[in-house]
Symmetry: C2
Subunit: 394 residues, 2 copies
């Protein structure tokens, strides 16, 4: 055994977060849709142990547990998403990886088509599954709009390069860079016609805005509980049509009741308990999506009053994730002794966190779930900092 000093290790037991302090506003776009509602905290404590959901596992499958009602919950969740079957995994990327591994095995293809605003992890899932990537381009600066019409060419290119149809086409519903929202329908119609399974990465959409897989013609939808479903997480949602489920959720050859590519029972415990407990809250909040879009637009207008600040991505905003170029703040950073960290510090002094520490050239933030008063505090804080450093505010 090593000679670790337990006294020194005790610092790991006293870690804390600025963002967890009362009254602090967290603008991090990766976090706002995942924040655990106050009332779900008791469920987190009740189910704090890893196998807390499994006390009454009678069939050796977490998706078949009735006490607590996991089985009913998964079925309601599928119905909410307009899909047939739901399984839970660790992250959205694991859901994509599971689908790609399964489809590669069942169909034998060796390429996948994805949009060029896809999250880095989508590229990794493809590479780990041994698939070549064919990208659908976007329009570049400043809109970075994905050219949905180019899926047709990309699928053809994949076929040309590998001699087989791609195992799937993936579209990022709203991307993590610019918060551009894409309409899945033209892509789903094309995929249906060509017989290519269509995967929608709804990590930033399902759970915060209405998404109906059936209406959108999706074969597989993945989402993220800790990004957009107010779950403690990490937890990923893998939602499938019955048809694709037969191809993806194949049994192990030796343990016929275990699903091979999930490696048996996936996520359990607190991530699942909090996903369940937050579900009624999520179903309600999704109905208020139009208000959330208004909030994003309002803040963009307020922040664009600051010299040089400009929203990137499609205008006007159709999603809560906002990307801004902020050359004014970037100039300040160049001459500030804290460099790029000055903005983080100035915001923190005003009770606001979540802008990536050190960044000033481009910043990302989210307005999701903020109250009007909080929104006003955010706008004022940015404008106040701008004025302090001599930037004009119109």
């Amino acid at each position: 055994m090593s000679n670790l000093d337990v006294g020194k290790l005790r610092r790991y037991a006293s870690i804390s977060r600025e963002a967890a302090r009362p009254g602090v506003i967290n603008l991090n776009p990766i976090q706002r849709g995942g924040l655990l509602p106050e009332e779900v905290q008791k469920i987190l404590i009740e189910f704090k142990d890893g196998y807390s959901i499994c006390d009454f596992c009678l069939k050796g499958r977490i998706d078949k547990i009735d006490k607590p009602p996991v089985s009913d919950f998964l079925s309601d969740l599928a119905s909410f998403l307009g899909m047939d079957v739901v399984r839970l995994v660790n992250r959205s990327r694991d859901a994509i990886f599971v689908i790609l591994m399964a489809l590669k095995k069942s169909r034998g293809g060796s390429a996948v088509v994805l949009d060029s605003n896809a999250h880095y992890s989508t590229y990794l899932a493809a590479e780990a599954a041994g698939l070549e990537v064919v990208e659908v381009p976007n329009s570049g600066y400043p809109e970075f709009k994905v050219d949905l019409g180019a899926y047709k060419d990309a699928i053809a290119e994949a076929e040309e390069r590998t001699g087989e149809p791609p195992v799937a086409a993936i579209l990022t519903h709203a991307d993590s860079h610019y918060g551009n929202l894409n309409d899945p329908r033209p892509v789903s119609e094309l995929c249906r016609k060509l017989g290519v399974p269509f995967i929608l990465n709804a990590a930033y959409t399902a759970g915060v805005m209405p998404v109906d897989g059936r209406e959108l013609g999706i074969d597989a939808l993945v989402s993220s509980g800790h990004k957009s479903w107010a779950s403690s997480g990490p937890i990923g949602i893998l939602a499938l049509t019955s048809e694709l489920a037969e191809e993806v959720l194949v049994p192990s050859s030796r343990f016929r009741d275990k699903e091979l590519f999930l490696l048996g029972c996936p996520v359990l415990g607190a991530p699942l308990a909090t996903l369940m407990a937050s579900f009624p809250y999520v179903v309600e909040r999704v109905r208020r999506w139009p208000e959330e879009v208004e909030k994003a637009r309002w803040l963009v207008a307020e922040l664009e009053r600051i010299e040089g600040t400009r929203q990137l991505g499609v205008r006007p905003k159709e999603h809560h994730l906002i990307c801004l170029e902020t050359p004014g703040f970037h100039e300040v950073a160049k001459r500030h002794k804290k460099k790029g960290f000055f903005l983080y510090r100035e915001l923190k002094a005003r009770g606001i966190v979540g802008i990536r520490p050190g960044l000033t050239r481009r910043i990302k933030l989210s307005t999701y779930g903020l109250s009007e008063e909080e929104l006003a505090r955010v706008a004022e804080a940015f404008q106040d900092i701008a004025r302090k450093y001599g930037l004009a505010v119109s």
Copy 2:
């Protein structure tokens, strides 16, 4: 959008657990080593949101975060295990899967050797990675002792069947069926000699008992935070020698700072925060392992006083997971109106849970971390139930 009734969905927000009630003793062997210490509950709340660890992510890699000190923690954790590099994943099985995928790619083999007491998920990880399984036999009823000497034959058989050495040999340190503890040394020595990477599945050992990978000659060690490290989980530990880490933690070809087979940043938030916070507690408790073995032996002796009851697996116990055949209780179940559930109910009436509901022919339980008073309560409860149904207690 579906027509879900939010009122009905509210039941998901009021789920609860018998095992979480104060004073209840939980004997579930999958749970005892994972129970979150009372003092860590505040960390669970502080880090309740999915990206709570990532507020100060400056390098885009969770293992490089300094605030909270994730980077230092992983290094201390590696040192505690006598390994060089640690990464965290969702479950032990994912750690095995990551290793197998990487080794299959780097070495090109197509088989893996494992012991026949391996968890079902080890078989699934092998199958999902596209590997053929060659099993090392055990002695069968009643000891089920793995024949460590037979690894040599199994490796030879793998080579004969596939024309290549197996990508790895896996040994389950203590298995989930009988709690048999295996000495890794003869297998690690053989593997070193043959150049076959040796993976120890320490899901039921590291975190509850001393395990020093360097001393044991292990190339890769996997463990389970929610099984044996007092973490809320789910969280799996992937610990490697520097040498094997170079082969397993390969970068993505496109995103050079992201680890391909982990699909980028793996587990975060509450599972990681509680693993960190429980670490000093775990380091201390591991030193008390000899007392834990004594507890298991004491309870076995007490339960074997019940007519027909007999411990399965190697005797005397060297691990806290106990498997018993209980033909006396099984006879009672046959004539009881609750059938096999009678035992669960009788125990529950005595404030004891964790025996799998419905089982009476063979039961599994754990004494890990129980106080002397709790142990006595457990022994008395079983003996009392036995007497109530006319079984002799010597």
